[in-house]
Symmetry: C2
Subunit: 286 residues, 2 copies
Amino acid sequence: MVKLLTGKEVVAALREDLAARIEHLADAGITPTLAIVRVGERPDDMSYERTAMKRAEGLGIAVRSFALPADAAQADLEAVIDEVNADDALHGCLLFRPLPPSMDERAVCDRLAPEKDIDGISSASLAGVFADTGEGFPPATAQACLEILDFYGIPIEGKRAVVLGRSLVIGRPVACMLLARHATVTLAHSRTADAAAHTREADIVVCATGRARAYGAEFFSPGQTVLDVGINFEDGALCGDVNFDAAIEALGEGGAITPVPGGLGSVTTSVTMAHVVAAAERVLAG
Amino acid sequence: MVKLLTGKEVVAALREDLAARIEHLADAGITPTLAIVRVGERPDDMSYERTAMKRAEGLGIAVRSFALPADAAQADLEAVIDEVNADDALHGCLLFRPLPPSMDERAVCDRLAPEKDIDGISSASLAGVFADTGEGFPPATAQACLEILDFYGIPIEGKRAVVLGRSLVIGRPVACMLLARHATVTLAHSRTADAAAHTREADIVVCATGRARAYGAEFFSPGQTVLDVGINFEDGALCGDVNFDAAIEALGEGGAITPVPGGLGSVTTSVTMAHVVAAAERVLAG
């Protein structure tokens, strides 16, 4: 039987940990507060905003939304980022991306104060992940991969990890984080000649290319752990980057995989909340 | 016959390119100028300082040395960095490391203005390499690896590269740079169970762990390209990380390797000079 690495147990464990920490912050008069910054009204963003607000509310984390019209100028958005940076009552900031093509996304991301950059979008946070400088936060999805592996007791040190996809949101940072935990890490991507030849040799495979059900039986071997980061819609249904049915056949006894939905997505939301709490704790610690 | 990827042809080509660019800068009244900042008088640093000064002089690049005593305080060094940052006549800065253990090396590195960080030591430069933000410069040794591959026409795109060693000076940045050129990249290191099993499958192997003659025949396969970044002294002689004689046997016809000495070292010095010129050009371009 393939083990399903479901997110809900991880979410519950994180919730328990956070509850105690949020209580401790409350004793010091601090309510951890998340700023959500959104440009326009993309359905994906609106949906995630609702999910995040609900999760935050359940935990005792406050949320303040900053919504700009779809045709906002870069200066308008930068003014909001400056306001978030300046407001001591806001501990973390989640900025929905991609930004409108008229905007310089890198400049906006780098304007956010690293100590409030709870989703790892600034260069300072990316350098923090790449170079272990300790600045900022890693991207929440990348951190969620590590949380799942750790919760389910899957060893990382000395293991072979293959990451499919090299985005700054997940592929590159999760590769660095697995490397920091002493895995031997391969980054494969669209120009890789025979990606399946790499993934079949791995202990841990992270699929993060955003290609619906793209990875079938030929990509996997018995006993592997597969983290499916994809969130794709196909024929109206949510699915991952992995062809799930084919993969569980190939993984066999001792194999493990995150389902979609029910896997990494909900853990990512918890990690976002955990980063807000950590940011508030850093303020308390001075 | 194994092809020797000697540095001197690469250095000559870079020199020719730089000569024209330095002349162009001279026409605009700009002498590209390198600041060398040194704490103490370690023989390695003194030796590299002499090499760099000689190379700079031969090219028409000016050098200003800032030497602090071995027991300098961090504030003294930071004052020098601030002076370099503020002086428009200084285009690039080379800071010898490691700094004395009493100093916070990361803080000092991050104090250097990214546009003068010609050896890629600041977090901004490291984020530039990791995230393609275009800020700062990549570490010179990592860039030298790419210069050698390009000069000798060795293809990178779609090839398998294995990097042994994960330092911030070479391993991690060269991995990112090979990835940006569309190689499939594996980072292996001291905790990798069977590093030779990885390197044998690669098209390009970068050895950068600083372990003298550590990589013998079992690490290599016929036809590979090997970049030996190591600069080690053993029994009074300079040697690389690769056991050279064993490696050339294993690489056979079609294989290629950088010798030590005579390989990457001198190219790294040229890249440092090229970065100073590029920094001066950026000033000219405004």
